[in-house]
Amino acid sequence: MAFVSSGYDPKEPMKDRITDIGPRDYNEFYPPVIAKNKGKWLYHEILEPGVLVHVAESGDEVYTVRVGGARLMSVTHIREICEIADKHCGGHLRFTTRNNIEFMVDSKDKVAALKKDLESRKFAGGSFKFPVGGTGAGITNIVHTQGWIHCHTPATDASGPVKAAMDVLFDDFKTMRMPAHVRVSLACCLNMCGAVHCSDIAILGYHRKPPLLDHEYLDKLCEIPLAIAACPTAAIKPAKVEFGGKTLNSVAVNNERCMYCGNCYTMCPSMPLSDTEGDGIVLMVGGKVSNRISKPEFSKVVVAFIPNEAPRWGKTTDTIKRIVEAYAADAKKYERVGEWAERIGWERFFDKCELEFTHHLIDDFRDPAYYTWRHTTQFKF
């Protein structure tokens, strides 16, 4: 494991330094049929789940085979993706916003072999490497954040619950029987770096305990003013504490004001807040980002807390499945989950999904709360 220099000289960091060059030019990466017909596509059709055709003014066609994937992937897996793209697609491929992979070919007769190849590949543990699907009125891949694989503030894992949920929803990744597409997202803490707050179904990690205070080390390890400034609710104050016969500079947290965001922990390692019993999952539903028919909507909290049940998060995935089935059975064609809930009324939504309504689900957080209470005599018994 001898150190290999790239050519960088630590004594002269500015020597030959190249900066601010940005990303590679997308034009280098287009498959020829895309480069040729860009901006001149006429229409598309989903031929079967996971297989699309786009037809251009020129009469050219591009066939896309979409496959799901864990966004957490090794270079061994990426090399296999490259091997497939070289074999079938002239060395081109693309990724979608929802972590799917798209393999494109320029004629229909190349589709079957590509599809067969993709579906034949399995991991040693038995799961598909490249399941074909994720199109149309079905359930596509779950966009998500880091979780326990890499972040310091998660209240749940990301890749684990996503794998568990997609296993449960797998049939709907492969079919298109839903009234409209269903977008599922996961963020592992309320910072929601993946912004899941406008998803049909959002799985959100949530802490329920304020940070622990490691008074002995707090002043040594942290810049106290930075920790105080990091708190979005101004819950942290400077405090003197007695410890081991000495008076130490530390902080006090007003637990009532804490919203368990972990921003203080980002600034100060002496304020950890993960907790086995405190942490778990919130389910939110009914959001969307598209402007189709109705305007974009935020997701609403419908389950206040489910404990983390590693490795398969059974109660979480069961609840999601129940919501999906109730929606599939009752919604009209084209109706998104939120539009369906609005039409039948949220009181009915809780009935149909067999979810318990508790006081936690009534908004009490600042101004927007008022707008969520009922201001009409129109409601259902």
Binding site: M1, V4, E28, A70, I78, H150, R312
Partner: protein, 437 residues
């Protein structure tokens, strides 16, 4: 033989969905065997330790990562996230486990040649584990040691013509939908504008000078595939001004069942024969469509370009020709004062190089936010605090009814003195001539 026992993670190897556990295991094995004779620059068994530490988190129900000191590459304030584990003795391979964000190409098209080069670099100098892609859009390289950061940056910039993405209080890596590259709904070239903005604002992307993070997202049409309206401080959403183009013969094709509705998106269930009245005319949110005597007509002046009819009948209906984009500002996730959807700032702007009409708006918004924004205040929060009127004032955009869903609910208008005839410094003596004390 696996270095650590992972009985909980092993349960995520079964089931049909691709298992990240199986994948990391296969890569751990590749590293252990090293048939390619890679000169690994970080511990060979790093992937075993990733699985080990994740297993421990599964057991404890708690993360084992802490936020580390500031690490990065010389001259940049973003692109690298420092990360250390809190059980380094148990898992020395991931004791230091920093992340690099690599600015993805617009549209996320790749050539295998490029990806292989990246794989080779990351296998040798890092864990070989990635995210394709992170939620902002970057390629994420997960896990390397401090000494490798400059080496990786050097190789990226010298051998791959590739730069890092953003992190921290700066412009985050912009991202876009596939747009005109393969989507007939795209009203502008999202890739061209995304690439332009990314390059135009490299300084803002690499050197944090903002109150907080700032995101650009670009959607080619109101379907919003990259969720720009919900996720970006500034969203660029394609739209058009003239008429939806109708191919009456193709409309008949849908009515007659020759073409599948919604491009075949609903073919997994028998929804019965296509009913244009119920499925298109009846669902049009503005009621501006008619289907009479076998002819579809649209009162385009009343259409709000929701995309529904076009999504249902893509062969028959096409976006108009007078195309451009709308700019929305201030979207963000709920923390802190609740989630904000983007608010419409510029109803329409044509998208033409050199994009001056767009950069003018961006720069005016940034000037205001950098001047007035508090530490960690997102643009949306500043707009809420100082008012949308202020947003219009600093960008010099005239108010139009399109800016609001409905007019205000209260008459508490903060008039400016120059808007009121005679100003505010009246003469009390003059007043008293007519009004006794």
């Amino acid at each position: 033989m696996a270095k650590h026992k992972t009985p909980l993670l092993d349960q995520l190897e079964s089931g049909p969905w691709p298992s990240f556990v199986s994948d990391i295991k296969q890569h751990a094995e590749v590293r252990a065997k090293n048939t390619q004779k890679v000169n690994y620059q970080i511990p060979v068994d790093v992937c075993d330790d990733i699985l080990g530490i994740l297993e421990l988190s599964f057991k404890h129900g708690r993360t084992h990562w802490k936020h580390g000191g500031i690490v990065g590459v010389f001259g940049y304030g973003g692109g690298v996230i420092g990360r250390y584990c809190d059980v380094p003795e148990m898992f020395p391979g991931v004791a230091h486990f920093h992340t690099l964000r690599i600015n993805q190409p617009a549209g996320k098209f790749y050539k295998t040649e490029y990806l292989r080069q990246l794989c080779d670099l990351w296998d040798m100098r890092g864990s070989g584990v990635t995210n394709m892609h992170g939620s902002t859009g970057d390629i994420i390289l997960l896990g390397t040691q401090t000494a490798q950061l400059e080496e990786i940056f050097f190789e990226l910039t010298h051998n791959m013509n590739q730069d890092l993405g953003g992190s921290g209080s700066n412009l985050r890596t912009p991202s876009d939908c596939i747009g005109q590259a393969r989507c007939e709904y795209a009203c502008y070239d999202t890739q061209a504008l995304c690439h332009f903005l990314t390059n135009q604002y490299q300084d803002e992307l690499h050197r944090p000078a903002f109150p907080y993070k700032f995101k650009f997202k670009l959607d080619g049409c109101p379907n919003c595939c990259v969720a720009s309206i919900a996720r970006a401080d500034m969203s660029f959403i394609g739209t058009w001004k003239d008429d939806i183009k109708v191919d009456q013969a193709a409309v008949k094709g849908y009515v007659g069942g020759e073409f599948k509705s919604n491009a075949g998106a609903h073919s997994g269930r028998n929804w019965g024969p296509f009913d244009i009245q119920k499925e298109v005319i009846g669902l049009c949110p503005t009621g501006c469509m008619k289907y009479e005597g076998g002819k579809l007509s649209i009162n385009n002046r009343e259409c709000t370009r929701c995309m529904h009819c076009i999504n249902v009948m893509p062969r028959a209906l096409r976006i108009g020709d007078e195309r451009g984009l709308s700019i929305f500002v201030g979207a963000k996730a709920p923390i802190l004062d609740g989630a904000q959807m983007g608010s419409l700032l510029v109803p329409f702007v044509p998208v033409e190089e050199p994009y001056e009409e767009i950069t003018e708006v961006i720069e005016a918004v940034w000037d205001w936010w950098m001047e007035e924004g508090k530490n960690r205040e997102r643009l949306g929060e500043l707009i809420k605090r100082q008012g949308f009127q202020k947003m219009l004032e600093v960008t010099n955009i005239a108010p139009v009814p399109q800016h609001v869903q409905e007019p205000r609910h209260n008459p508490y208008i903060f008039w400016k003195e120059d808007e009121v005839e005679g100003g505010w410094s009246g003469d009390i003596n003059e007043f008293r001539k007519h009004h006794q004390r």
